[in-house]
């Protein structure tokens, strides 16, 4: 069961100003995926878009890689890539397009039963307020052992997390990614981020059959 919702309009419209290439995932859209709203939004902004790709199961990295190859030139010519999928899908695309700023178009609320469907090492904790747009498409909640939102702690050594020398420090990956994209100011300028644990409850925790419309 997957539940995603469109990010707030203001943030989305700002992303559309950056000449985006659009990727939509229709893999597990059955339960709640804001398909109509996405189409509406794309239509309104048609002139700003460099291209659209539609895939099933973005999270299958190998498949996505092959499929996106034919859009290589279009992606190259675009300013950013906006992905409409769950948080895992966005992270897969961010990994496959290391040279592009990859932005999430949706917030992921609920993925239960879907983790482990495809083999890969990216994860989404369904925080309901996707932070990938601040972090170069690397999830600070699942890639950092402390789920820190405002930057690296003092514990990383040689790029590894204080928790385990085998584990990459998620925030060092984020820093390097942003630096490569010349976007390191994004973390500096973003407001202080504080996770809202009530968001999930508000939207669907009390009654999963009833999803509030924005």
């Amino acid at each position: 069961m997957l539940i995603t919702k469109l990010k707030n309009k203001e943030e989305l419209l700002a992303s559309f100003e950056k000449k985006p290439f659009i990727i939509k995932c229709f893999g597990c859209k059955e339960v709640y995926f804001p398909e109509d709203k996405i189409e509406e939004l794309l239509k309104e902004n048609e002139s700003k878009i460099t291209g659209v790709a539609r895939l099933d199961y973005l999270c299958r990295e190998e498949f996505s890689k092959l499929y996106l190859a034919k859009y290589g030139q279009q992606i190259k010519n675009s300013g950013v890539v906006i992905v409409f999928s769950c948080g895992v899908g966005v992270q897969v695309i961010a990994k496959l397009c290391p040279e592009k700023e990859v932005l999430a178009g949706c917030d992921t609320y609920y993925l239960d039963g879907f983790q482990g469907l495809s083999v890969q090492d990216l994860n989404c904790e369904q925080c309901g307020e996707c932070y990938l747009n601040y972090t170069g498409g690397i999830c600070p909640i699942t890639a950092c052992s402390k789920g820190l939102l405002n930057g690296q702690c003092g514990g990383a050594k040689n790029g590894k997390c204080e928790v385990n020398v085998e584990m990459d420090c998620g925030w060092e990956l984020i820093y390097k990614k942003l630096k490569g994209l010349k976007l390191e100011n994004v973390t500096k300028q973003s407001k202080v981020l504080i996770r809202n644990y009530k968001r999930i409850l508000d939207e669907l925790g009390y009654n999963k059959d009833h999803i509030k419309e924005e």
Partner: protein, 290 residues
């Protein structure tokens, strides 16, 4: 003059550190601190340092206040959510504690209760912001407080981190969130500290250079391997290795004094972390010319 006034008037300050015991026998640590009265401006009290369960920082800070010593209350985000953190800050204020050092905290797996739930509901930056809000009479959701606490808020920075830039970015955010002074991770290389100071000068915020007393060559090697941003140079490791067991404190003090002398012209204070060697702090200060 109290610590806040002294540091804010631009004077040189010296802080040291107390690690509360695992248990309730605190008298010894307090006595040791008392011997430093007049020499040390304030004492950091660690908050379950390295995620090891110990007597609390809040209670120990209060005991220092009762003895006329000024504490710096270390508070980490490891064990408490935003309700408890804000509440403990209010408690600290009514207990007479005026200096707070805000840290994210180590992960519990590094300590003696690795099974514990890591909280990290907030981090150093969001907690600084919350503390600043309390000082303005509001809690994190904007409710009014009756009476406002007043704190001097501090934070930490690691000048030898590699890469350094994420640390600087975070430092700037900490300042925006309300940090008024910084204490650094242990410094063993004056040259790289100078380089760091040149970068952060523009922030115009007091920085206290950190000193950790080396106890043995083994400890130095361990820190080089495991602790973020610590690189003890080979010459100090060799000095410690060559010293006989009885001579080690003397050599360690000599190394610390050399570093302090190198650093004191570069920053606005020194923070000495004796890690159990509190009794050697007076000789460190003396050898460094204080």
């Amino acid at each position: 003059m109290d610590f806040a006034k002294k540091i804010q008037s631009g004077q040189f300050v010296i802080t040291s550190e107390i690690g509360p015991p695992k248990g309730v026998e605190i008298e010894g640590a307090l006595k040791e601190a008392e011997t430093l009265k007049g020499k040390v401006d304030a004492f950091n009290v660690t908050d379950l340092q390295s995620s090891v369960m110990k007597l609390g920082s809040l209670a120990t800070c209060r005991l220092l206040v009762e003895r006329g010593l000024e504490p710096i209350f270390q508070i980490t985000c490891r064990d408490r959510n935003r309700l408890a953190l804000q509440s403990d800050l209010l408690s600290a204020y009514v207990l007479g504690i005026r200096n707070v050092l805000v840290l994210t905290g180590d992960h519990p797996v590094l300590g003696d209760h690795p099974q514990a739930k890591p909280v990290f509901d907030l981090d150093s930056i969001s907690l600084l912001k919350a503390a600043t809000g309390l000082m303005e009479g509001k809690d994190m959701v904007g409710n009014d407080l009756v009476g406002k606490p007043e704190f001097l808020l501090g934070a930490v920075v690691n000048p030898s981190a590699d890469p350094l830039e994420p640390q600087i970015i975070k430092m700037e955010k900490k300042i925006q969130a309300g940090a008024k002074f910084f204490q650094t991770q242990a410094i063993y290389d004056v040259k790289s500290f100078e380089n760091f100071m040149n970068i952060v000068k523009k922030f115009n915020v007091p920085i206290l250079g950190g000193i950790v007393l080396l106890k043995s060559a083994g400890m130095a090697k361990f820190m080089n391997e495991k602790v973020a941003g610590i690189n003890v140079p080979d010459k100090y490791i060799a000095m410690m290795a060559e010293a006989s067991k009885e001579d080690r404190p003397k050599v360690s003090v000599q190394i610390a004094a050399e570093l302090i002398k190198g650093m004191k012209g570069l920053c606005q204070g020194i923070h000495i972390m004796p890690l159990g060697w509190e009794k050697h702090v007076p000789s460190v200060l003396q050898e460094s010319g204080f």
